[in-house]
């Protein structure tokens, strides 16, 4: 929400009448700010004040949905320029571009390949979200064939691209139940597009050669009741793209400028000649505010880094990243290899497993789920205690993986040693180094079977 609780408070009656269900007007204001109650719950608000508050409380950047159901892409409603200020909320959609000028067999192959671009990483599914279907042939029949084929053989949401308005909306009508984005809506075709956009209930992909032009189009659309738009400032290269994206987001977030208060789309596929540059431009634009990136790339080696990149940048910095709970095998350990244990905070995991690899001594790394919090905090809250670890040992059958009975625990967890000696009486508990960087030294000097 754009307005802070304290600001909302200024507009409320301040009678603490409790009829909204909250103990005080202040409480009501707080709940409003975080979306816990509705404005209508207060029976004493002046209608003008209500409208004023409703407008002011609307997020500075619209939320836009392409697609429906579980494949829907939701973008927008961003709140910050820098992810460390809070977080980025909605991952940009990655769209693979398919032109209707391609041969039938090429199209068929591409559609199949895009479906295969699905990967798992630390418990998350990373994949392509959209197909951008482009009418380059100039023939509406050929375009429709492409859209129909994509519609029948895949369940991706679409971005429909055509300079021919009739072809564009006719294709949109064919797949309207999947809520496609229609592009481009420009100052030339906006008036004619409005009735069709409203009839189909689909979002508008707005294109302009200048921000002024975009502003004019989005304003006309909003006035006519078309609420959801995605804007393309038509950037020709990566650096221009960075500039345009930055200025649009600033205008929306810092100036509260509603005509630019929309998520954006970019076409790195048209910015570069070579696929390596395209991959870099795509990742750069995702880092710099793009709501949708349209790419021509479909090879795994090019798409996978992009998917991981998006996943990283759009992770919430306020929540610790976690890895899966399990017994990790580093460098192919055997029954005589050392066993270490730590928490599932991702960064710690990378550092510890990296240190073990560096030591060149194969080992088992037991990773216990602590909700991503570190060793000491996890011990205090009961998630990394002797009892919890003993349970882990049973669950993952740790005893049967090695012949020896030695467990190396993080050096900072001194209190844990006593607890574990009691919970696992047949095990010798070794206090490891306090710093992960000392693990190689520790393993090479202190570890003996």
């Amino acid at each position: 929400m754009a307005l802070k609780g304290a600001e909302i408070m200024k507009k409320l009656p301040k009678t603490n009448c409790k009829e909204c269900g909250c103990a005080t007007c202040f409480a009501f204001a707080m709940k409003l700010a975080t979306g816990g109650v509705k404005l209508d719950d207060c029976p004493y608000l002046d209608p003008e004040v209500k409208t004023e508050l409703k407008d002011a409380m609307a997020p500075p950047m619209k939320l836009v949905t392409i697609g429906t159901g579980q494949n829907a892409i939701v973008i927008g409603e961003e709140e910050v320029m820098f992810r460390h200020e809070k977080t980025f909320f909605h991952e940009p959609g990655i769209a693979v571009l398919i032109s209707d000028r391609e041969s039938e067999s090429d199209i068929g192959e591409k559609l199949a390949r895009v479906k295969d671009l699905r990967f798992e990483r630390i418990g998350n599914v990373l994949k392509i979200d959209l197909l951008a279907l482009s009418n380059d042939s100039g023939d509406s029949g050929i375009f429709e064939t492409l859209v129909k084929k994509a519609y029948e053989t895949t369940d991706f949401p679409f971005i429909l691209i055509s300079e021919d308005m009739d072809a564009l909306f006719s294709a949109a009508a064919m797949c309207a139940d999947r809520r496609p984005l229609v592009y481009p809506i420009t100052s030339d075709n906006v008036s004619a597009s409005i009735p069709k956009l409203k009839e189909l209930g689909v979002p508008a992909g707005v294109k302009g050669d200048s921000l002024d032009e975009i502003i004019s189009v989005t304003s006309q659309l909003k006035d006519a009741g078309v609420e959801e738009s995605i804007i393309d400032p038509g950037s020709r290269n990566m650096l221009d793209g960075i500039r345009d994206q930055t200025l649009i987001r600033r205008a929306a977030l810092k100036k509260g400028f509603r005509p630019l208060g929309y998520p954006t789309m970019t076409f790195p596929c048209f910015m570069c000649q070579d696929k390596y540059e395209e991959a870099l431009a795509t990742s750069a634009l995702m880092t710099k505010y793009a709501g949708i990136v349209v790419t021509s790339l479909i090879e795994k080696d090019f798409i996978f880094p992009l998917l991981v990149h998006r996943f990283n940048i759009y992770s919430d910095p306020r929540r610790p990243m976690t890895v899966e709970e399990k017994v990790y095998e580093v460098s192919q350990p055997d029954e005589n290899s050392p066993i270490l244990i730590s928490t599932n905070y991702a960064l710690d995991f990378f550092i510890v497993s990296g240190a073990i690899e560096e030591a060149n001594i194969p080992a088992f790394l037991c990773i216990k789920d602590t909700g991503g919090i570190g060793v000491l905090a996890a011990w205090t809250s009961g998630k990394f205690t002797g009892e919890a670890i003993a349970e882990f040992f049973k669950k993952y059958d740790v005893e049967n993986r090695v012949k020896h009975r030695k467990l190396i625990i993080p050096g900072v967890a001194k209190k844990l040693k006593d607890e574990l000696e009691e919970e696992l009486p047949s095990w010798e508990i070794l206090l490891g180094p306090s710093e992960a960087s000392d693990i190689p030294k520790f393993l090479s000097e202190e570890w003996k079977v």
């Binding site: 820098f82 992810r83 460390h84 990483r121 921000l211 002024d212 502003i215 990566m238 650096l239 960075i242 500039r243 930055t246 200025l247 600033r250 205008a251 810092k254 100036k255 400028f257 390596y276 540059e277 991959a279 870099l280 431009a281 990742s283 750069a284 880092t287 710099k288 090879e299 795994k300 080696d301 090019f302 996978f304 880094p305 992009l306 991981v308 990149h309 990283n312 940048i313 992770s315 910095p317 991702a346 960064l347 990378f350 990296g354 690899e357 960087s437 190689p440 030294k441 090479s444």
Partner: protein, 298 residues
């Protein structure tokens, strides 16, 4: 007519000079965020450095090794290849041989290697230890002495060894890489300690880089916040240019070892991301990753 919301900042990131003479490279000096040519001045393009090891690489993917495979037994030849064939404007000589858990090469010998590289190529040179405080200290002091006056960039300088290394750098006219681990407060603290006796315009800060998929976003956000503390909050101790040592991190990942394309993109994507955050000097391992970035940003 829409007025673009431009922002102007009243301070500059300090300019640090690497190397000497006509091949010297300046980094930093900007008064705005990375690539914001439309609202500020960025007088120096980012420094893009190519990595050279002082010993034969172990466990490198074939395609990482290919560009240098016939010269990896000789750091001077390796360095020359980097400059002459791959157009590197800055080199980063990583003294892996000094690792006490590895070959534990003596400081004098390591310094000799550095001197050989310096003598054979007139090009800005970064010289890095392995992060083991005591050994790095001895080696970098010896390197400083052996290459007195050559304006190298020496690092990593850490909380535990900054006094000795910075003193030697000051005495022999070198710049330093001050490294803190993923924490703006620690970066500031080290800078405060250094600036008591060491010129701030010869400090480059390293918040510690993590590769794509392995913590990249932590580094990204720290670099962005360092830029903000400097340019927006005008914190005098946060106006040093930022260093990102990415080659070694990216190429140890299993993803980089799966295919050449993926490996090069793994490194290039990480580098691009840090440049977008505000890194002023980036060390690459693969010349193709470096070239790719160079073509995109220059």
């Amino acid at each position: 007519m829409f007025q673009a919301p431009l922002e102007k900042y009243p301070v500059n990131i300090r300019e640090v000079v690497l190397g000497l003479g006509e091949k010297a490279k300046k980094i930093g000096g900007e008064n705005t965020f990375p690539f914001h040519f439309f609202e500020g001045s960025l007088p120096n393009s980012p420094g893009l450095a190519l990595e050279v090891l002082d010993m034969q690489p172990e466990n490198w993917a074939t395609w990482a090794l290919d560009p240098f495979k016939d010269v990896v037994s000789d750091p001077v030849e390796w360095a020359k290849r980097g400059v002459e064939e791959y157009g590197a404007e800055i080199l980063c000589l990583r003294l892996l041989s000094i690792d006490p858990m590895g070959m534990d090469v003596a400081p004098e010998e390591a310094a000799k290697t550095v001197r050989n590289v310096v003598d054979s190529l007139n090009i800005p040179l970064i010289v890095l230890g392995t992060g083991t405080e005591d050994k790095d200290s001895k080696v970098l002091i010896e390197v400083a002495r052996a290459c007195s006056g050559k304006n190298l960039l020496l690092g990593p300088v850490l909380k535990g060894n900054y006094q000795e290394i910075a003193k030697a750098a000051l005495e022999h006219g070198h710049a330093i890489v001050a490294q803190a681990s993923m924490d703006a407060n620690l970066t500031k603290e080290l800078n405060i300690a250094l600036c008591k006796f060491f010129p701030p315009e010869k400090i480059v800060v390293d918040p510690t880089s993590s590769a794509l998929g392995y913590g990249m976003e932590y580094t990204f956000s720290i670099i962005e916040s360092i830029k903000q503390f400097g340019l927006v909050a005008k914190d005098n101790m946060m106006l040093m240019p930022v260093f990102a040592d990415i080659g070694i991190e990216c190429w140890r990942t299993k993803e980089a070892k799966e295919s050449k394309d993926q490996g090069v993109l793994w490194e290039a994507t990480t580098g691009m991301t840090f440049l977008l955050a505000g890194a002023n000097l980036v060390v690459f391992r693969h010349p193709e990753a470096l070239r790719l970035i160079k073509n995109m940003i220059l």
